[in-house]
C-alpha cells in the first residue's frame, strides 16, 4: 500500500496545488491483532499534525467493493482538503464549533455537528474542484442513519447516485431534512457561520435520536471512516494562533470561555496548559479568563520608548569620501590618496562619534497600577479594556526583557488590593491583573513607595477611570516623581479631565483615553513629551 501512495502522491499534490503535507503513511495492523480488533477497520484515515496515515485494515476491508488505489486516493483527497480548505486552521474549527453549540446547546452534539459539517464541505469542495474518488467511496461505505442522510444529501447536491434509495429518505421526514440541508451554501466560506447553524438546526433531531439509541445500546457511537476531527490535527503553535484569532474575533469573554472549557480536556491532552504563562506545557489547568486576555493582548502591539544610548565618545575617522576642489584638506587621507591632491584621486576621512560606555539602551521595569473598583468592569464577566490595556503593556515590557510588578487596587486602605512584586512570569502577572474587587476606589500611596524606591529607572503604567477618592493625593504623588508615567483612563469623565489638567505640564506623564479596543495600539509607553526643541534640556 505504501507503494500505491508513493505512486499517486505526486499526482494528488499537483491536484491540490502542492500543499505542504508530508508523504502519507500506512498503518498496517499486525496479523495477530487483526482478528481481535474489528473496530480498527472502521476508520480509514488518521490525521495528526499534517501527517496523514491510512489504515491498512480499512483499505483491505474495502477491497471487495473498490480497488485499493481508489480507496486510498479518496481518503487522501478528503484528508488533504481538511488542511487546504476546511477547516484549514484551529480558529475556523473553533468558530464553527461555537456556532454549532449556540444551536444545539450540548458539547458532544456540537462536536458531531461541526465534524459532519466540515466533512460535507471538504467532500463537496473536492467533488467540485478536483476529480476525485470520494463519491465512489461514499457509495461503498457502511452507513448509519446520519450517514445515510448525509449520503442522500450528497446525491442531491452532487447529482450523483450513491446508492441511497429514495424510499429510505421517505421514512421519518428525512426527505425534509435532506431538502433543507441541500440549500446550504457549503462552499461559501464567508457564510460558514450561518450555514453551520442551519445545518445544526436541521440535523439536531436526528443526532439526538441517534444519541438516545446509542445510549440505550450502551455503545460509543460510530466512528467516522474518513477520520475524526480533534485537536490532534493541530500543532501547539496552530492552537496558540487559533486561540489568539478566536479571542480577537469574539471579543466576548463568555463565548471564549465557553469554548475553551469545552475543549479543556483536549487542550490538556495536547499539552496545552498554563505553565510559564505561554499557554504551553502541562501544568495547571487552563484558566479561560486569563487565557482570553493573554491571547487577546497578543493581537495588539504597543511600542515602548527605550532609554537612548548615550554617545560619550569623541569623533573618530570612519570612512572615506572623495575630496572636491574647495573642500578643506585637513582630513585628507594621504595614503589612500597616493600622495596626490587632485580631484578624483584624493580621499578625505568622514568622522563619526564613537559610542562609549554610557548607559545601555534598554527598557526599564514597569509598575502597573490597575483599578478594579466597582466602577470598572469585572474582567471575568465582560471584556475589560483596563485589563486588556494592562495586559498589552505587560507584553510590551516583558517582550523587551524587563520585569513587571502589579498593584491591583480597589479600596486599598481597607485591604482591597493585590500586589505582585517584580517578575517576568506572565501567568502570575495576568492572574493578578484579572482579579476584581469591585469595591470603593482609593489608592494607598504608601504601597507604591517600596516599588519605586531603589529603582533608578522605572516606568509607571496606571489604568483607571480616574474615579479615585484620593485623586488629589495621586496627582500630588505624580507631581513629585520623575519616572515616566503612562496614564490610561477608560472613557471620558470630569475626573479624567481634572487629572489631565493637573498633569499637563509634566513632561514625563503621557495620558491616553481608551474607549474601544482600537485605541489601545495608540498608547506609546514611556513617552516623554518634548516641548519645542527636542534637544533642549531643562536645568533643575
Amino acid at each position: 500500500m505504501q507503494s500505491i501512495i508513493e505512486e499517486i502522491w505526486p499526482k494528488l499534490r499537483k491536484k491540490h496545488l502542492y500543499p505542504e503535507i508530508p508523504m502519507p503513511r500506512v498503518r498496517e495492523t499486525p496479523e495477530q491483532e487483526k482478528s481481535e480488533s474489528e473496530e480498527d477497520e472502521d476508520v480509514g484515515l488518521e490525521m495528526k499534525q499534517k501527517q496523514l496515515t491510512i489504515n491498512g485494515a480499512f483499505v483491505s476491508q474495502m477491497k471487495e467493493k473498490m480497488p485499493e488505489k481508489r480507496v486510498i486516493e479518496a481518503l487522501l483527497d478528503h484528508g488533504i482538503t481538511h488542511y487546504t480548505f476546511c477547516p484549514w486552521d484551529f480558529h475556523t474549527h473553533l468558530r464553527l464549533y461555537a456556532a454549532a453549540k449556540k444551536v444545539v446547546g450540548d458539547k458532544d452534539l456540537a462536536k458531531q455537528v461541526s465534524n459532519h459539517f466540515i466533512d460535507v464541505i471538504a467532500d463537496t469542495h473536492c467533488v467540485k474542484k478536483r476529480f476525485t474518488e470520494i463519491p465512489e467511496l461514499h457509495r461503498n461505505l457502511r452507513k448509519g442513519d446520519v450517514e445515510e442522510v448525509i449520503a442522500s444529501l450528497y446525491q442531491e447536491i452532487w447529482g450523483m447516485d450513491l446508492g441511497i434509495a429514495p424510499s429510505k429518505m421517505g421514512v421519518k421526514g428525512r426527505a425534509d431534512i435532506v431538502r433543507r440541508l441541500a440549500r446550504i451554501p457549503y462552499l461559501d466560506r464567508s457564510r460558514w457561520g450561518e450555514s453551520i447553524q442551519k445545518f445544526a438546526r436541521t440535523l439536531k433531531p436526528l443526532l439526538i435520536q441517534e444519541q438516545k439509541e446509542q445510549g440505550a445500546q450502551g455503545g460509543k457511537g460510530e466512528r467516522n471512516p474518513q477520520g475524526e476531527h480533534d485537536l490532534n490535527h493541530y500543532s501547539s503553535e496552530e492552537i496558540d494562533q487559533g486561540l489568539r484569532d478566536y479571542a480577537r474575533q469574539t471579543m466576548t469573554l463568555s463565548e471564549f470561555k465557553d469554548v475553551v472549557e469545552d475543549f479543556s480536556d483536549e487542550l490538556s491532552g495536547a499539552g496545552y496548559g498554563m505553565e510559564g504563562g505561554m499557554g504551553r506545557g502541562q501544568g495547571n489547568p487552563v484558566d479561560a479568563d486569563v487565557l482570553f486576555y493573554m491571547k487577546l493582548a497578543e493581537n495588539y502591539s504597543i511600542p515602548v520608548k527605550k532609554f537612548p544610548l548615550e554617545e560619550k565618545g569623541s569623533l573618530h575617522p570612519y570612512s572615506h569620501c572623495p575630496w572636491e576642489i574647495g573642500a578643506p584638506y585637513q582630513d585628507v587621507d594621504v595614503w589612500t590618496s597616493f600622495g596626490k591632491i587632485m580631484p578624483g584621486i584624493t580621499q578625505t576621512w568622514t568622522k563619526r562619534e564613537g559610542k562609549g560606555r554610557g548607559k545601555i539602551e534598554g527598557t526599564p521595569d514597569c509598575l502597573i497600577v490597575v483599578d478594579s473598583s466597582g466602577s470598572m468592569i469585572n474582567p471575568r464577566k465582560s471584556l475589560s479594556y483596563a485589563v486588556l490595556g494592562a495586559a498589552c503593556a505587560t507584553n510590551a515590557y516583558l517582550h523587551n526583557n524587563s520585569k513587571v510588578a502589579v498593584y491591583n487596587f480597589s479600596d486599598a486602605p481597607m485591604g482591597g488590593k493585590d500586589i505582585l512584586n517584580y517578575t517576568d512570569r506572565r501567568e502570575d502577572i495576568y492572574r493578578v491583573l484579572c482579579k476584581y474587587f469591585g469595591g470603593g476606589t482609593a489608592l494607598d500611596l504608601e504601597d507604591l513607595m517600596p516599588f519605586i524606591q531603589g529603582k533608578r529607572k522605572l516606568d509607571l503604567f496606571i489604568i483607571t477611570d480616574m474615579k479615585i477618592t484620593n485623586l488629589e493625593a495621586l496627582i500630588g504623588f505624580f507631581g513629585q516623581i520623575q519616572n515616566r508615567v503612562t496614564a490610561v483612563h477608560i472613557g471620558d469623565n470630569p475626573y479624567a479631565a481634572r487629572f489631565e489638567k493637573a498633569v499637563e505640564r509634566k513632561k514625563n506623564i503621557s495620558i491616553y483615553t481608551v474607549k474601544r479596543t482600537e485605541d489601545i495600539p495608540h498608547i506609546v509607553l514611556g513617552k516623554i513629551r518634548d516641548y519645542f526643541n527636542p534637544t533642549h534640556t531643562k536645568k533643575s
Binding site: K102, W158, R180, A182, R201
Partner: protein, 254 residues
C-alpha cells in the same frame, strides 16, 4: 538631369503596428476556459438566493410603504392594509416553505435585512405562508431569538402551518379555516377575530385569548393566562373545555 534613382530611404524604419499596441498583461490566459463540473448545489444555492432576494425585497417594500420611519402600530386597519400590500408582493414570487423559514432567520441577521419590525414581519410571513403552494408548512423557529407577532394571520382552509418555537402576540388572528400548530408558547391576543379553523398551542398562552373569536377552536396544552371576549368557538385547556364553560368573563387569571 534629375537622377532616376529613388531618394535614399531613411535607415530608421517606421514604427510597425505591433510597437503601438500595448502588451496584453493577461495574454497567457487568453485560451483558458474554466473546467470542472457545475454541481447541482450551485444551482440550488443560486435559485435559493434569488428567491430570498425577492422575498427580502418584498419585505423592504412593505416596510417602505407601511412602516414610515420604522414605526408601525397594531390596529385593525393597519393590519389589513399591510396584509394587502404584502399579498401584492408575495403573489409574484415562487417559493417554498424552506424559503419562508430561511427568511425568518434572515430577519435576525441585520447584515442581510437591516430592520426587523415584528408586526409587519409577521404580516409578511403570514402572507408568505398563505400563498405558498404547499398545504402543510413546517417552520423550525425554535432558535429564533425574536418572537414574531401576527403569525398565521388569515390562514385559509386547507392549509396547515406548524411552528416549532415560540410566537409573539396576535398569533392566528383572523384565522380562516386553516390549522395552526405552535410547538411552543404563544403570547397575548391569540386567535383574536378568528373565523374558523383550529389553533393548537402546545405550551402556554397569554391574555386576551380568542378576543372577538367568531368560530373555530383553540387547544392549549399548557396554561391559559386569560380569555378575551369570545363571540363563538371553543377554547380548551389541557383537554378541558374552558370556553364555553364556567368562565364567562374576559381575562380571568389562573
Amino acid at each position: 538631369m534629375k537622377s532616376s534613382t529613388p531618394p535614399h530611404k531613411s535607415s530608421i524604419l517606421p514604427p510597425n503596428n505591433e510597437n503601438r499596441i500595448a502588451k496584453n498583461p493577461f495574454e497567457e490566459f487568453k485560451t483558458f476556459t474554466a473546467s470542472g463540473p457545475d454541481l447541482p448545489l450551485d444551482q440550488i444555492v443560486q435559485s435559493t438566493e434569488a428567491v430570498m432576494d425577492r422575498i427580502r425585497c418584498g419585505y423592504e417594500k412593505l416596510l417602505e410603504e407601511e412602516a414610515k420611519e420604522l414605526v408601525w402600530m397594531v390596529q385593525y386597519n393597519t393590519i389589513i392594509k399591510a396584509y394587502e400590500v404584502a399579498e401584492k408582493y408575495v403573489k409574484e414570487i415562487s417559493y417554498t416553505a424552506e424559503d419562508i423559514e430561511d427568511f425568518c432567520f434572515a430577519l435576525e441577521n441585520t447584515q442581510r435585512i437591516p430592520y426587523l419590525i415584528p408586526g409587519p414581519a409577521g404580516i409578511y410571513l403570514s402572507a408568505l405562508c398563505n400563498y405558498t403552494n404547499e398545504e402543510e408548512i413546517v417552520l423550525k423557529l425554535s432558535e429564533l431569538k425574536t418572537e414574531i407577532n401576527l403569525v398565521g394571520f388569515r390562514l385559509p382552509k386547507g392549509k396547515r402551518l406548524m411552528i416549532e418555537g415560540d410566537t409573539g402576540d396576535f398569533t392566528g388572528i383572523g384565522l380562516e379555516g386553516g390549522e395552526l400548530v405552535i410547538d411552543g408558547n404563544s403570547k397575548n391576543w391569540t386567535g383574536a377575530g378568528m373565523r374558523g379553523g383550529k389553533i393548537l398551542i402546545k405550551k402556554n398562552i397569554g391574555l386576551h385569548t380568542g378576543e372577538w373569536m367568531m368560530g373555530g377552536e383553540i387547544y392549549v396544552g399548557g396554561r391559559v393566562r386569560g380569555l378575551g371576549n369570545i363571540v363563538e368557538g371553543k377554547v380548551y385547556e389541557r383537554e378541558k373545555l374552558l370556553y364555553p364553560g364556567k368562565v364567562r368573563y374576559p381575562n380571568v387569571y389562573y
